[in-house]
């Protein structure tokens, strides 16, 4: 299903509504992601950032609204059209999601083997090229259980890139990484985006890290985009919530204390 899309936008979301049970996750969310850029989607935990990524890939369907990816209305795609669209995407999962029974080489080769008839020699060279680009050609024969968190993330990145996608989605790529691994992943996101002409979307709440590489940021809270712009613009935002998020202040519009009955009354009152 083709639909009108601004020429320089790869993704356009409008009027997105989605709920899980009685909890409303998105309430009329609107955003557009330009081609060729690195876009950060930020927001407090539980605001639905990963859910939004899963809307782009068609793993979740919205209750209402439009999710246009490369001019295609994702929720209305047939199974075969959705799979064709997914071949143009790559996604890096928070826990890397490597296939634990396969070696590093076979993990990266997996999408190629399943989706193409590439001869073995070409496949081998392609996989080694991708592994070289993330610095892990020497780890091709290791098993996922032998990798550190940062190495797993890089193997998953090579796997996500192996079919040369137009769109690369990163779900919390920095969580649990040591400073060296974090620096490597940051560099690879920027490098891959620029060298391969990708469009990258990074879901993260690591404000400092993402500010280094993002061209554009969206801050999501309570089901809507509450701020968008360049990272330096967001730091000077007039919204208290955005400033609290960007500076990591302990208290503010997002309170330190979860709503509770009066403290004194609870301590002194009967149980």
């Amino acid at each position: 299903m083709k639909a009108a899309l601004a020429a320089d936008n790869l993704i356009e979301i409008s009027g997105l509504r989605f709920s899980r049970g009685s909890r409303l996750i998105f309430d009329g969310l609107e955003l557009a992601i330009p081609r060729g850029s690195i876009t950060a989607i930020m927001g407090p935990s539980g605001t639905g950032k990963t859910t939004l990524l899963r809307m782009f890939t068609g793993q979740l369907k919205p209750d209402a609204g439009s999710v246009l990816v490369a001019g295609q209305e994702v929720p209305r795609l047939s199974r075969s059209d959705l799979y064709a669209l997914r071949r143009r995407m790559g996604m890096l999962f928070q826990n890397s999601a490597l296939l634990t029974d396969f070696s590093v080489f076979e993990n990266v080769a997996f999408p190629v083997r399943e989706n193409t008839d590439l001869p073995e020699r070409l496949l081998r060279n392609l996989v080694l090229t991708k592994l070289q680009s993330v610095g892990l050609r020497g780890a091709a024969n290791l098993m996922p259980s032998e990798l550190s968190g940062g190495m797993s993330r890089r193997v998953a990145m090579a796997r996500a890139m192996v079919l040369d996608p137009e769109l690369l989605l990163y779900d919390e790529p920095f969580s649990g990484l040591d400073p060296i691994s974090l620096g490597v992943v940051l560099r690879l996101i920027r490098l891959n985006n620029d060298a391969l002409g990708l469009t990258s979307i990074v879901v993260s709440h690591d404000v400092a890290e993402i500010s280094h590489i993002a061209d554009h940021c969206f801050v999501i809270s309570e089901g809507k985009v509450i701020a968008s712009g360049r990272p330096d613009e967001l730091a000077d935002s007039e919204s208290e919530l955005v400033r609290q998020f960007m500076t990591g202040a302990v208290d503010g519009p997002v309170p330190f204390h979860y709503p509770a009955p009066d403290y004194r009354q609870q301590l002194l009152g009967s149980s």
Partner: protein
């Protein structure tokens, strides 16, 4: 009233689950032709579910056969009919015990392995990653495991029957002194092809049911450690009940 409502609720939940399992079977069957184009995936699963279950199947079968041999000899000796021990043992194993016990052992050994393997893939986002890579997990993961399991159970049942009969022969002929010629000739005399057909039909149905329940529970488990554990437990419990119910239904239909 509350008890009635609880019963109604649980019956409705069971019906809903049965419907979901049948729909899941439909999805798997739709992907089976694609799975058959990659026989290596299926043979790997026949190895995992079948070959790796051989030790437990053969050991259990030998002891079950010895017990039937002993009990059968004890009962028949009272009627001075020890010579038909071979026929009795073969009919018991081929028509009933072989398919049922094999399916129950398969659920405990291979079914739990299937459910926990697929469940762990769900919990660690491996299945979600495949979906995003435009690889259908039902085609790539579930269908070969289902087919491999469904092929394995009838083959394991045949092995169970053969080893069980050998166990009964060992006790009856070698230990208790039943005439060897009578043991085998009476078996040949009384076991009809229709008896073997009944056993084979049962083992095919049990194989499909046990494999389907295992892959369904694994694929639909909650993506947590507890969810995988519960899926494994449910696989054994549901398969055991399903096999016993199906056994009665097939027996009643065929007799």
């Amino acid at each position: 009233m509350t008890l009635f409502m609880q019963l109604q609720g649980s019956l409705l939940a069971s019906m809903r689950k049965l419907g979901a399992v049948v729909l899941f079977l439909g999805e798997i069957l739709a992907q089976c032709p694609a799975a058959f184009t990659r026989p290596r995936l299926i043979s790997a699963q026949v190895h995992n579910a079948g070959v790796l279950s051989l030790v437990i199947i053969m050991t259990s079968a030998f002891f079950v056969g010895m017990v039937i041999g002993l009990q059968g000899y004890d009962s028949l000796a009272r009627l001075r009919q020890e010579d038909i021990l071979g026929a009795g043992v073969a009919l018991t194993l081929i028509k009933e015990l072989g398919p049922v016990v094999t399916a129950l052992l398969f659920a405990g050994r291979a079914g739990t392995a299937l459910a926990s393997e697929i469940g762990l893939m769900r919990a660690t986002d491996q299945l979600a990653a495949m979906e995003v890579m435009a690889i259908d997990p039902i085609r790539r993961i579930v269908a070969p495991r289902f087919v491999g399991g469904a092929i394995s159970v009838p083959l394991l049942t045949a092995v169970f029957n053969a080893i069980g009969i050998l166990g009964a022969w060992f006790i009856g002929v070698y230990i208790m002194g039943v005439d060897g010629g009578a043991f085998w000739s009476q078996m040949q005399e009384y076991v009809d092809p229709s008896d073997i057909g009944e056993g084979v039909s049962k083992s095919i149905v049990f194989g499909i049911a046990a494999s389907l329940i295992a892959v369904y529970e694994g694929y639909n488990c909650a993506p947590t450690a507890e969810g995988v554990g519960m899926a494994t437990t449910r696989t054994v419990v549901t398969t055991s009940i399903a096999v016993l119910i199906l056994d009665y239904m097939i027996t009643a239909f065929l007799i």
